[in-house]
Symmetry: C2
């Protein structure tokens, strides 16, 4: 049984005071580190728990915030905040860099071994950090296959793993094709997993209960998508073998 | 270090004498079992080695044969044999059932826990066993996304995992869409992994050296696709935890 340490961290970004969850693994040395980007509604205990789960595995993990500590339970309020954000790569990068600065300032973080994973809007932010040329070891995006500004994907220097539900009308087949064409044209090392039958936000038990059409939880694929992300981290941010 | 046991097994199917590789894990008890279907050129040391690798993990594994012991190094000879086979589900099922009978006759095999994985033509055969209603625990097909006869996919009762290279012109986007639509319409629990930049036969260092256009080895994605198949087996055919 390992003992992790967790902190609530507040930091400014996008004109707001963000409230993230920083989780540290057992021990005292430096460890590879992971940014976790949340969905449009915001950061709640679900993604906070993933920071803790990654710390249990041995990573420093920061589940970052995009909404100034708020959880938008009203879909219209969520969309009013998220839609312009997703159309503004510079704002997404500011939010991502602010989180990255918090993670890098943590003495336990190995600054040369950082990955960014994200879900929906948080996945789009992870991708924007890559398009901004940040030295990441891996990028994972679940349900957030947002194409960037022309030419910038060539700055991505790490493996990109993407997951999406086959029946997701928000990340439609046209979105997927545009995204994968962007990755392929830029020479990125990319993969796409299509989870059969899954809808948008399939990974998230709370978001998937929102009243937006096309959204629905898929517990089996949710578990698989998490296992796939953990496998990506094992590939790109290997941990010391523990006995 | 575990000690596996391997056998060359000969058995009749499709008017030929097939020559497969049966690999048994260390120990004496029953174990979950895996069929491994080879590519159109046939069974060579590459897939024989996978039977051994799965036995090292703890599975009974049979790398089966589709060409009567032959390896077609001439692409035209390969296509002359494979093209009519792929158009004939009954022949594919005969080849698959013959291999399944060999696997089930092995006393070490747990007959209630069998998975079928395959590559190219071998993947199509694994799928046909599912469409024939065989009680499998998992089906994996790499580079073999062949649509079956209408209505028969509804007999598939296990998870189906499929992998393909994004740039594969033989398993084209139209093939992938037809295959995933078949799985989705039938209510199958399915996934598709698209490996960015990979061509047909990307998983196989020998097949990918054939002179067919659209074929090429991708060592990084080849390793990932193998890890993905092993993860599927871990999900659907869990092994006892060893210490």
């Amino acid at each position: 049984m390992t003992t992790i340490t967790t902190h609530t961290v507040e930091y400014p970004a996008d004109g707001l005071t963000m409230v993230g969850r920083l989780a540290l693994p057992a021990g005292a040395g430096r460890a590879p580190a992971v940014l976790i980007g949340p969905e449009g509604p915001g950061l709640n205990d679900f993604q906070r728990g993933r920071a803790d789960a990654l710390a249990e595995l041995g990573y420093v993990a920061l589940a970052f915030d995009i909404n100034g500590g708020r959880w938008f339970s009203d879909p219209q309020e969520m969309l009013a905040h998220t839609t312009p954000l997703l159309a503004d790569p510079d704002r997404m990068r500011e939010i991502g860099h602010a989180a990255l600065d918090v993670l890098r300032a943590e003495p336990r973080t190995d600054p040369d071994r950082i990955a960014a994973i994200g879900y929906g809007t948080g996945g789009a932010i992870a991708l924007e950090l890559g398009r901004d040329g940040v030295d990441l070891r891996a990028i994972a995006t679940v349900n957030g296959l947002i194409t960037g500004r022309p030419g910038e994907a060539a700055r991505i220097r790490c493996p990109v793993w993407a997951g999406v539900g086959s029946e997701d009308p928000i990340m439609s087949p046209a979105h997927r094709e545009a995204f994968t064409a962007e990755m392929q044209d830029a020479g990125v090392d990319w993969r796409l997993v299509v989870y059969g039958g899954a809808l948008h936000a399939f990974h998230h038990p709370d978001v998937a209960q929102d009243v937006l059409p096309g959204v629905g939880h898929h517990p089996v694929h949710a578990r698989r998508a998490w296992d796939d992300v953990v496998a990506l981290l094992a590939e790109c941010l290997p941990l010391p073998v523990t006995t």
